[in-house]
Symmetry: C2
DNA sequence: GTCTATACTGCGATAGAC
DNA sequence: GTCTATCGCAGTATAGAC
């Protein structure tokens, strides 16, 4: 992957996240990336190719993000790390995750990338003696998702107070 | 409001929810609504006027939706009705709420329409003896938001099992 | 640079309500 | 006879994909 290609993707990501796919023109991407518009089509064929590449990246990034949780063997740590997840996102990656959350509303977006994460949470709750471990996991996953959305939309600070509160709720 | 005007709004809602604002052309709206394109502009001035009208409707619908909760005087019923909220949405209104959730990602969308709802939840938890009533309310609000999203994306059934579970969690 | 899509305008015409 | 809601369609200007 050449530098210019990376640069195009980075700019496309930022613009798609802010203005939406249809709200972003290829010419604007080219200008902001400091490349000719033609180069975009050389690398990605059509505008949609840009989006596809970005979605592909998402699969890998999600995997990396939840991997430390999946290999954790202490159930309490699983839960603690899970709650920490949205707060640990580097701010530089906010546009990336913003785009993913927006894309979830598109009909052809493959859902369920978080399935193994929920399984692991279920395992953790089960291990801690919760009867309805699966539901407990789903609820916590809901909380984490919604907090993530809050952070991406209004910044980490808007949610920070909740972290300790939830940790205590689950790990007392 | 004439029938055709209503029809235009209904179609615009559906298309905006599915294909996004920028992804929907006024000519397509006109065709699907069975009206001339000119009529759209006669009634709404510009394409954005359509969106404004839809957002205006949202304010009112949200008010109607949470009103029964706001006037409730029994704290347990407040919580019970709140949890029931996303499950009680008529399926015919799903596109409407879908659009609202999508719009939340736009920069100029006025957030915080749910503020009074959170206040009421806080009041309820406070009344039930919870120490950190405010945080408790925020967490439940997160759960309800995320469940709503799940229902809008994957249907009511995908979340139904959680309802009883959460009710019991909070009202036992 | 080319070509298409799209927001928006303008206007003549019709049919029904009062 | 006027007013209002509508149609149908020609036309302009611009943006945007390629």
């Amino acid at each position: 992957m050449t530098d210019k290609k990376k640069q195009i993707l980075a700019v496309a990501l930022e613009l798609f996240a802010n203005d939406g796919f249809n709200g972003t023109s290829t010419s604007k991407i080219a200008k902001e990336a400091g490349v000719s518009e033609g180069l975009i089509f050389r690398h990605f064929e059509h505008k949609n190719g840009l989006l596809n590449a970005l979605v592909q990246q998402a699969v890998e990034r999600i995997r990396l993000l939840i991997e430390p949780i999946l290999i954790e063997t202490d159930p309490k740590k699983v839960i603690q790390k899970s709650i920490d997840l949205p707060f640990a996102l580097p701010e530089s990656e906010y546009p990336f995750w913003k785009l993913q959350f927006k894309l979830k509303w598109e009909n052809d977006y493959e859902q369920d990338k978080m399935r193994p994460f929920i399984e692991k949470l279920t395992w953790a709750f089960s291990n801690l003696g919760y009867i309805q471990a699966r539901k407990e996991a789903e609820v916590l996953n809901h909380i984490i998702e919604s907090i993530s959305i809050g952070i991406l939309r209004e910044g980490r600070k808007s949610q920070e107070g909740l972290k300790e509160f939830i940790l205590r709720k689950y790990l007392k």
